[in-house]
């Protein structure tokens, strides 16, 4: 526990002025614009929109600049900003089946309806530093190919669904309440809608580590990347005063569907099960990790033994939010003087008692 302290105003003001100077860096180097961050550090921006749980790429770029590139600090800034705004309502669920696809791959089927589209990817690059980026080298000439006019590209997992070899997605109950952890505090056990909301805003690093742990045997789920797709989807809202749905525009999302082996239980035959990941922007690692952890967290629902951290929803959901985590870890920096004085007294007293006991023992 920390106790309020007074004073230090001048030092704090000077520290903030120094922070401003450090943020600017060498004044002979041109200052970054938020447009440059938005366009050229796009994946950092995407990550901040995911974990800040606020799709606004301009604000995320500003937050990254203000936070000097500290992405968790930037996430914190976005979360603080969103808490100042009224909420107009809940959008109609986006239809990823109707996505304008920029990337779509499957590790389970080589040939699939709609095809595999690599899109802008780091995959198959050699991970050699490119000296050319130090100079203002013009971008490589782009190839264009006439895209087939495909209305909707079906989800890969549904190909298995047609044969009954994969579980069905949970049914839609019209008007059934959807859990919202920004309105009601998280309680356990949490349903899958709440778990997914929590994972969607969760820290990519923690999800990556937990997903990795399931692959290494801590709650093994035998995953295959059934499909990863990234592209534009339209957002619709039905405002109360209008009484009909309007289009608000488009957002970019990444979706990952993991297909996992399942040996069956008393109720269910052996079949594949699903883990699902959905993230703002081009956030592939996040979406994949989320899908792995989503599947691991379904252990209880599927009658599997809960033996690993990634399967323990209370553990995962209580620690996945990096704003909460950083708040509690970093609060240790704040003055704990009174608290520490009490501890100091206690240790001194225990030390005296221990020494006295030792002396007595030696004397006997």
């Amino acid at each position: 526990m920390y106790v309020a302290v007074k004073g230090g105003e001048a030092a704090i003001a000077a520290a903030h002025a120094l922070l401003d100077k450090e943020r600017r860096g060498d004044p002979t180097v041109p200052a970054l614009t938020t447009e440059q961050i938005r366009e050229q550090l796009a994946l950092a921006v995407d990550r901040v929109t995911c974990e800040g749980s606020l799709y606004d790429r301009d604000l995320a770029a500003l937050a990254i600049k203000q936070a000097r590139g500290d992405l968790i600090e930037a996430v914190f800034l976005l979360r603080a900003y969103r808490s100042t705004l009224p909420r107009f309502g809940y959008a109609t669920p986006i239809e990823t089946g109707a996505m304008a696809i920029r990337r779509r791959i499957s590790a389970t089927f080589k040939d699939l309806p709609g095809g595999q589209v690599l899109g802008p990817t780091f995959d198959y690059t050699h991970r050699l530093l490119d000296d050319g980026l130090n100079d203002q080298v013009p971008a490589a000439e782009l190839t264009h190919k006439i895209a087939h006019d495909e209305a909707a590209v079906p989800h890969v997992a549904n190909l298995l669904g047609a044969q009954g070899l994969i579980e069905q997605n949970p049914e839609v109950e019209i008007g059934a309440p959807v859990g919202d952890l920004t309105r009601d505090p998280l309680a356990f056990p949490a349903d899958r809608d709440l778990r997914l909301q929590s994972l969607a805003r969760g820290d990519e690093g923690l999800l990556l580590a937990l997903g990795y742990s399931t692959q290494r045997g801590y709650g093994r789920t035998h995953p295959f990347a059934g499909e990863i797709r990234m592209g534009h989807v339209e957002v619709h809202l039905a405002p109360e005063e209008l009484g009909f749905e309007v289009s608000l525009g488009e957002i970019v999302v990444t979706e990952c569907e993991m297909v996992n082996q399942f040996k069956g239980s008393a109720e269910s035959p052996p079949q594949f099960t699903r883990g699902y990941g959905l993230a703002f922007g081009h956030s592939e690692r996040k979406a994949m990790s989320m899908a792995l952890v989503d599947r691991a967290l379904r252990a209880r629902d599927l009658g599997e033994e809960v033996i690993a951290p990634a399967q323990d929803e209370e553990f995962v959901l209580s620690h996945v939010d990096n704003v909460q985590a950083t708040g509690f870890v970093e609060h240790l920096k704040l003055p704990h003087y009174v608290d520490f004085q009490a501890e100091l007294q206690l240790v001194r007293q225990m030390r005296r008692e221990w020494e006295e006991a030792n002396r007595k023992e030696a004397a006997e």
């Binding site: 669920p93 997914l196 909301q197 957002v235 703002f280």
Partner: protein, 138 residues
């Protein structure tokens, strides 16, 4: 409204500038920035869940001639939202409709279609055919 939500401020201004007489509008609800909680579906097609919020700007205006116009669009853009609401209201008047279709709906729809086509064509160039190699074990 779909076109109004995607038109740029310049496109909306240009479309409004050519309307004769220029519609006069009063705010029913001044442009306001807020949040909409976006939703996905479990597994891409199942029950809904909340993914995260997005900033949205909305506005509502009434024309001197009585029509009410609304706008809702992604992002923080009060000027754009107000212009969109005015044009949405104006679009309800037959006298303006032809001009709005000609100077806003058609050019914006065309720009969006071009952008979409160009994006999909760029992606199509990265379409891949993987071949499975036969291993020589047998």
């Amino acid at each position: 409204m779909q076109i109004c939500a995607r038109a740029t401020e310049a496109e909306l201004t240009a479309a409004l500038d050519v309307l004769k007489p220029r519609p006069e509008a009063v705010d029913v609800r001044p442009a306001e920035i807020g949040l909409v909680m976006l939703r996905g579906r479990i597994g891409g097609s199942g029950a809904p869940f909340n993914v995260g919020e997005a900033t949205v700007t909305r506005a509502a205006v009434r024309l001197g001639t009585g029509e009410t116009g609304y706008s809702y669009l992604l992002g923080r853009a009060k000027t754009r939202a107000r212009l969109a609401a005015i044009l949405e209201a104006a679009g309800q008047r037959p006298a303006y409709r032809r001009s709005i279709v000609q100077h806003l709906v058609r050019p914006v729809a065309e720009r969006l279609a071009n952008e979409r086509r160009s994006m999909l064509d760029e992606a199509a160039a990265t379409r891949v055919e993987f071949l499975t190699l036969v291993r020589g074990e047998d």
